[in-house]
C-alpha cells in the first residue's frame, strides 16, 4: 500500500496528502482479536489462581509437608485426633471467632451504615457533608494507622473495653461502615427522587416514604453491602491482629499469620485457609444469586451483579 504511493511521485502537495492518508490508514484489521492480550490475561489468571489451588490441595496432604505431596487425606480437617482443625482447640477457636465476628459486625454495620447513608443523603447541610467526609475518609485511611488509633483508644481511654472481642467488633464496624454507606448512596443517586416525591405528594410521611418506597428499592444495595461486610470481616487481618489479646479472641487470619511466622506452619494452616476460602466463596455465591434475584427485571444483569458483589461500586 505504501509502496504504491511512493512509486508515483507527483506534485509536492499531492504527495503530502497521500502520505498523510497512508499514515492514517490502519495497516491491519483493527477489529481483529487481540490474541496477545488474551494470552497475557490467561497467564495472569493462572499466576493469580493456581498457587491458591495448590495451597488448597496441600490442605489435604497426608503428611506435614506443604510442598511435597504425600497422598490425599482428611487428617488436617477432622481425621487427626490432635492436630486437625476439629480437634485442636486453638484452630477450632479461630474458626468460631471468625464466624462470630462476621455475624456481629454485619448485624451492627449494615443498619448503621444504611441509616447513615439515607440520613446524610436527604438531610443536606454542613454537618451532613462533614460527616460524609469522615465516612469516606474511614474508607481510604491506611488500616494500620486506624488500627493504631483503635489500639490506643481501647487501651488508654475506654479502658474497660480493653483488647478482645468487643474491641474487635467496634473497630471492624467503624472500618466497614463505609461499605453500606457508599453503596446505598450510589444506589440513591441512580434511583433519583421521583418515586419519593410522588409518594410525598400522595401524603406519605417521611418514614412511610423510607419504608414503602426506599426500602424496596434499596434492598439489593443493602444486601450487597451485607455480603461485602461479612466477607470483608472474614478476610480482615490488621485490625484483629492489633486488637486480639489471647487465643480465645484470635480469628483465623491472625492465627495463620502468627503460626506461620513462628515457624509452626503446616497443612493444618492450609486447611484453615481453605475453610476461610470456602466460607467467603459461599457468601459470594449467595450474594450473587440473591442480588440477581432482587434486581430481576432491571437493566445491568449478571456483569453488573458481579461487580457490585465485589465492591466495584464503592
Amino acid at each position: 500500500m505504501t509502496t504504491a504511493t511512493a512509486k508515483t511521485p507527483a506534485g509536492a502537495g499531492q504527495a503530502q496528502a497521500r502520505t498523510s492518508l497512508g499514515r492514517l490508514r490502519p495497516r491491519r484489521n483493527p477489529w481483529r482479536h487481540p490474541w496477545f492480550l488474551e494470552g497475557f490475561t490467561w497467564l495472569y489468571l493462572v499466576w493469580s489462581l493456581v498457587p491458591v489451588a495448590l495451597a488448597v490441595l496441600f490442605s489435604f496432604n497426608n503428611g506435614r509437608s506443604q510442598s511435597v505431596w504425600q497422598g490425599f487425606s482428611w487428617r488436617w480437617y477432622f481425621a487427626d485426633p490432635v492436630n486437625s482443625v476439629l480437634h485442636d482447640p486453638n484452630l477450632h477457636a479461630a474458626v468460631v471467632q471468625t464466624i462470630r465476628l462476621s455475624v456481629y459486625v454485619t448485624l451492627i454495620t449494615v443498619p448503621l451504615g444504611v441509616a447513615f447513608a439515607l440520613g446524610i443523603n436527604r438531610w443536606r447541610g454542613k454537618t451532613a457533608s462533614s460527616a460524609n467526609f469522615l465516612m469516606i475518609l474511614s474508607f481510604v485511611i491506611p488500616e494500620l494507622i486506624f488500627g493504631v488509633a483503635m489500639f490506643f483508644v481501647f487501651t488508654k481511654l475506654f479502658k474497660p473495653i480493653g483488647l478482645g472481642t468487643l474491641a474487635e467488633v467496634l473497630a471492624l464496624v467503624t472500618w466497614n461502615v463505609s461499605w453500606p454507606a457508599l453503596i446505598v448512596q450510589a444506589r440513591l443517586v441512580t434511583i433519583g427522587r421521583e418515586y419519593e416525591e410522588a409518594a410525598a405528594d400522595l401524603g406519605a410521611a417521611p418514614w412511610q416514604v423510607a419504608y414503602r418506597v426506599l426500602w424496596p428499592l434499596l434492598r439489593p444495595a443493602i444486601f450487597a453491602s451485607a455480603v461485602l461486610v461479612f466477607s470483608g470481616v472474614i478476610d480482615d487481618f490488621v485490625l484483629v491482629d492489633l486488637l486480639s489479646s489471647n487465643s480465645g479472641n484470635t480469628p483465623m487470619s491472625v492465627y495463620i499469620y502468627s503460626q506461620q511466622r513462628g515457624g509452626n506452619g503446616g497443612p493444618a494452616l492450609n486447611a484453615l485457609g481453605t475453610i476461610m476460602l470456602v466460607m467467603t466463596f459461599i457468601i459470594a455465591i449467595i450474594g450473587y444469586i440473591g442480588y440477581r434475584f432482587m434486581t430481576r427485571g432491571e437493566r445491568g444483569g449478571r456483569l453488573e451483579a458481579l461487580t457490585t458483589i465485589a465492591g466495584g461500586e464503592g
Binding site: R25, P26, R28, P34, L37, F40, Y44, L45, S48, L49, P51, V52, L54, A55, Q66, S67, A115, F116, R122, G125, A131, N132, F133, L134, I136, L137, V140, I141, P142, E143, L144, I145, V148, A149, M150, F152, V153, K156, V173, T174, V177, V189, G192, A205, P206, W207, D235, F237, V238, L242, I256, Y257, Q260, N270, M276, L277, R302, L303, L306, G312
Partner: protein
C-alpha cells in the same frame, strides 16, 4: 424515636421543610455519633499518646489536655530517624522503593488484563470477570500461604527452575530476598487494582473508541489517544487504593522473609506498639501521626473524588 417522629410527621402539611430535616437527621445521628466516638476520638488518642510522657515504669501516659503536651516522644522519634542510632531512615527509603516497584509492576500487569476483559472478552466476559474477581474473595493470608508453599527450598518454584536448568542450587526464596517481598506485595494487592481499572475501562463509551477507529487510528494509537486518557481517573484511584495499604503493610515481609533486611515502615510502628511493657508506644504514636500527615493529601483527593461521584446526579 418513633412516637416523637409521628407527631412531627402529622404537622407536615403546615411546615413542609423542617420536620423532614429532623427525620433524616435522626436517621443519620447514630452513624455520626459512632464515627465521632470511634473514628475522631481515636485519632485524638494518637495525638494524646504522642504528646504524652512515660511514667516511672516507662509506660506511656496519655496527655489528654493539649496544654500538657510534651515533645519527648517527638524528639525520641526524631533520633530514630536522624540521630547516631538511627534505624528508621533506611527503612523509610526501602519502603518507598518496595512500594514504588510493587505498584508499578501491579499496574503493568493489571492494566492489560483489565483492558482485555473490559474491551475484548465479548460473550466470555462473565467468565473472565469471575476469574478476575476470585482472588478478591480469597483471604490475603491464604494467598500468602500459597506462595510460602511454592517458594520453599524444596517447593515447586525451585523444582520448576532446576528442571529448566535456570538454577543449579535451590534458591532460598524465603530467606530475606527483597524480590520475594515485592512480588508478594504485587500478588497481595493486585486484585483491588484490577477491579478499579476494570470498572473504569468498562465505563468508557465504546462509541468513543469506534470514533477513533473510524477516523483512521490504528489499535495502538486509539489506545494512546482515546482509551488511556479516558482511564486516567481509574488509574489514579486504583494506584491510590493499592499504594496506601502497601505503605502500611507489615505482614507480607514478615511472612515471606522475616529478616531485618526487608523491614518496612509498617513494621516499625507495629513493633513499637507491641514492645514489651509498651515503652515504645509513644514513638509508635508519633510515627503513625507522621505517616498520616504524609498521606493526608492523597487521601483527601480520593475523598473529594468519591464524594463528588457518589452525590453526583442529585
Amino acid at each position: 424515636m418513633a412516637p416523637g417522629q409521628e407527631r412531627v410527621g402529622r404537622g407536615r402539611r403546615n411546615r413542609p421543610k423542617e420536620p423532614h430535616r429532623l427525620f433524616w437527621a435522626a436517621l443519620a445521628a447514630p452513624g455520626i455519633i459512632w464515627l465521632a466516638l470511634l473514628f475522631v476520638v481515636p485519632f485524638y488518642a494518637i495525638l494524646a499518646i504522642a504528646g504524652g510522657q512515660v511514667d516511672l515504669f516507662g509506660v506511656p501516659v496519655a496527655a489528654w489536655n493539649p496544654l500538657h503536651w510534651s515533645s519527648a516522644n517527638y524528639s525520641a522519634a526524631w533520633h530514630d530517624v536522624t540521630g547516631a542510632s538511627s534505624f528508621v531512615g533506611p527503612i523509610i527509603l526501602r519502603t518507598l522503593v518496595y512500594v514504588a516497584l510493587a505498584s508499578l509492576i501491579s499496574l503493568l500487569i493489571a492494566y492489560p488484563a483489565a483492558y482485555f476483559v473490559a474491551r475484548f472478552a465479548g460473550r466470555r466476559k462473565a467468565l473472565f470477570l469471575i476469574l478476575l474477581i476470585a482472588p478478591f474473595w480469597i483471604s490475603y493470608m491464604m494467598r500468602m500461604l500459597a506462595w510460602i508453599d511454592l517458594l520453599q527450598t524444596n517447593g515447586y518454584v525451585n523444582k520448576a527452575l532446576s528442571l529448566l536448568h535456570l538454577i543449579g542450587q535451590p534458591v532460598n526464596w524465603l530467606g530475606g530476598l527483597g524480590f520475594t517481598v515485592v512480588l508478594g506485595l504485587v500478588y497481595g494487592y493486585i486484585p483491588y487494582l484490577i477491579l478499579v481499572l476494570y470498572a473504569g475501562l468498562d465505563r468508557i463509551d465504546p462509541a468513543m473508541i469506534e470514533a477513533g477507529r473510524d477516523l483512521g487510528l490504528g489499535r495502538v494509537r486509539t489506545f494512546v489517544h482515546v482509551t488511556l486518557p479516558l482511564s486516567r481517573q481509574a488509574i489514579l484511584t486504583g494506584m491510590l487504593i493499592t499504594v496506601l495499604p502497601m505503605l502500611g503493610d507489615y505482614f507480607t515481609n514478615q511472612l515471606l522473609s522475616g529478616t531485618s533486611g526487608t523491614t518496612m515502615f509498617g513494621n516499625v510502628i507495629n513493633d513499637q506498639l507491641s514492645s514489651s511493657g509498651g515503652v515504645l508506644q509513644g514513638e509508635g504514636a508519633v510515627f503513625s501521626m507522621l505517616f498520616l500527615l504524609v498521606l493526608i493529601a492523597p487521601m483527601i483527593y480520593y475523598v473529594l473524588a468519591t464524594s463528588r461521584s457518589s452525590r453526583g446526579a442529585t
